[in-house]
Symmetry: C2
Subunit: 356 residues, 2 copies
DNA sequence: GAGGTTTGCTTAATCGTTTAACCCGATGCC
DNA sequence: GGCATCGGGTTAAACGATTAAGCAAACCTC
């Protein structure tokens, strides 16, 4: 039903000029008299002219689209990242093509290739934990942890962990349970490592990997003297919070609970969850910016040798974005009893601090 | 670094034939001798030939991409939908371009136009509550509620509500709080409507819209005799659950709580959350299928008049996908006390049943 | 063996944009 | 006044795939 959309040719015909002139007028590149250029721009505007992206892509080899590969779209952290990436990309005039790797390495590779074939100008990857992203002939930005080789930008999980530790310490806590899911995840390792690094030698620390100890009895830990629970994800923090609550413990009076990422529900629970949030906007912005830089400048001061392995590509862009503590109701002063009279296990510290 | 990717021309040159022949051989369309065709296919395979999507798009007008517009990427339901859409689209060889409308109508329209400009062959829209999606010259599939005009496919929220009501009724509950966020959302209206329709005239029903009564005191309601809380979203169910729990009520012994959508945390809380799940895969599959049908068959038995307004386009595709009850620990038998001796407010039924 | 049909491929146009190369008239310079 | 320069355009060649139309040889048919 719609009339054919305006093209360079159709506009050119109206003015009796060639399509090249119209192209130049709109892009401001060639030499066109100012008067004519102005009239052409006005007319194009009025017509609602929009260049055909496929045609442009064909000619220039740039599709104006970047890919976003995520380990698992169902991961509740994803929406924030996706939203931030989409916004940042849109600001640069780019579209965002999504791909889900379903947490499988094979699918991750396949997804990358599909995106490349679709002509993505660059790809942002949040790798599945422990995965190394293969090298491609497309600019890549990796969001993982500062420690990962090839990482482009990410939250400073380690510093975030340390900051959360400081928060709990400041509230008087001296016995901690640090709860993660999987040791394989470098993000989780960093968070736990940061927490541990932020706690003094004298603190009691139990580290629990849920993957290995899924049946952990949190109320028992609390009864055993643990007063602060820090989980690497709000999801686990929520589990701990509700489990303790159901066992009759008052949060935060009898125990404090904190998580990471400020997931959607963190503010909705009662008591609301204290959490370390990543600045998704800044991270996404940096990832997109890094991509843009690599797309525009082909070789970023080409690494002399071994393009494959290196942690090269060190753009001046920031690499570790600080995290922000969002102190809510689930953390509070350590119970007085524990403060004054430490329990039987004064130094069960399972592992010593591991700062490099 | 990478050698130029293979094109039809480069393959044609290898065989000393024209690019048209190669195209025909690969697509199986024109007339090519079987022997040559087989050799060409083999060679293309070996070379990892992939057609240039932009070029194809330019020629055919089909980009092989569909757009997905969501009201708010930060909405926790989004991941499931996005994941399902992505999978369904990938199965059909389509890519998915995302766009966030930030809940604003203006942004929603702008996002749609950006997608159209990008050459999306079709667009799936989950409209912001209460929004009517404007007509475009691009196939559209709308996921909202069966009641919305123009809706393509969605969960049967009303029947889901009724089924949840039946579940609670079966557990012996007779006094309910139905909790929604906003009356403007047709999804929420349907869910609440379904719940109400599934409850008998004799039941006590309190309907609460959180937007209007954000400070609702749920423990007070429970003390007042309400034994079952059904919220239109797991997010609110979680809020209710934790609030009651903190107030010292044992869930589900003293009160049952249920939600909708089976969000990521529903299984993680203690007690785990009973919820009505939508079958995102089926919904997304149907939406994608509807899009494909409209893309391939230009006019679906063209509606004689008023292409704009109608609830036309009635493809044979299913429109209301049944929801599934996921009974977990947060719902249980109504407390005996309430069962035998109803509380002081036996008939505070705020509104009567409203089945059409 | 002449006419018609297949078969198997080629030619060439087309999608809409970008961009290098060229062209012509008007100036500017010494 | 001869020659380079510049401003304001035009031409034409891409980009890579698709597809209608064309064309020569081979095959069939009676």
């Amino acid at each position: 039903m719609q009339a054919a959309p305006p093209t360079l040719q159709s506009i050119a015909a109206e003015f009796g000029v060639s399509s090249a002139t119209v192209s130049n007028a709109l892009s401001g590149k060639g030499r066109v008299s100012e008067g004519l250029a102005a009239r052409i721009r006005a007319r194009a505007e009025a017509l609602g002219y929009a260049p055909s992206l496929p045609a442009r892509a064909l000619r220039t080899g740039r599709s104006g689209v970047i890919g976003l590969v995520l380990p698992d779209l169902a991961n509740p952290l994803f929406p924030k990242i996706a939203q931030a990436v989409e916004a940042a990309a849109a600001r640069e005039g780019y579209g965002v093509l999504i791909a889900d790797s379903h947490g499988e390495v094979g699918a991750q590779t396949a997804a990358l290739q599909r995106l490349v074939q679709r002509g993505a100008d660059g790809i942002i990857v949040v790798p599945r934990r422990g995965t190394r992203v293969l090298e491609l002939d497309v600019p890549l930005a990796v969001i993982d942890t500062p420690a990962t080789p090839g990482n482009t930008v990410s939250a400073d999980h380690r510093a975030g962990g340390a900051a959360l530790a400081a928060h709990l310490l400041g509230l008087g806590h001296r016995a901690f349970a640090l709860v993660g899911e999987s040791r394989e995840s470098s993000v989780q390792r960093d968070r736990i490592g940061g927490l541990r690094a932020g706690l003094p030698q004298t603190a009691r620390i139990e580290t629990i990997w849920l993957e290995e100890a899924p049946e952990t009895d949190f109320p028992a830990l609390a009864r055993d003297g643990i007063t602060a629970f820090a989980a690497t994800s709000d999801l686990h923090a929520l589990r701990i919070l509700t489990t303790l609550q159901r066992a009759g413990l008052a949060i935060p009076r009898e125990a404090s609970v904190a998580g990471f990422d400020d997931l959607a529900f963190a503010a909705a629970v009662t008591p609301s969850l204290t959490t370390m949030a990543q600045d998704s906007d800044r991270i996404a912005g940096a990832a997109v910016a890094a991509l843009m830089a690599r797309i525009d400048g082909p070789e970023p001061a080409a690494p002399p040798a071994g393009t494959t392995g290196g942690s090269a590509g060190g753009t001046a862009a920031e690499t570790a974005v600080p995290m922000t503590l969002i102190a809510r109701e689930s953390t509070g002063p350590a119970p007085a009893s524990t403060r004054s009279e430490p329990r039987p296990h004064p130094a069960t510290r399972s592992q010593r601090e591991t700062t490099p």
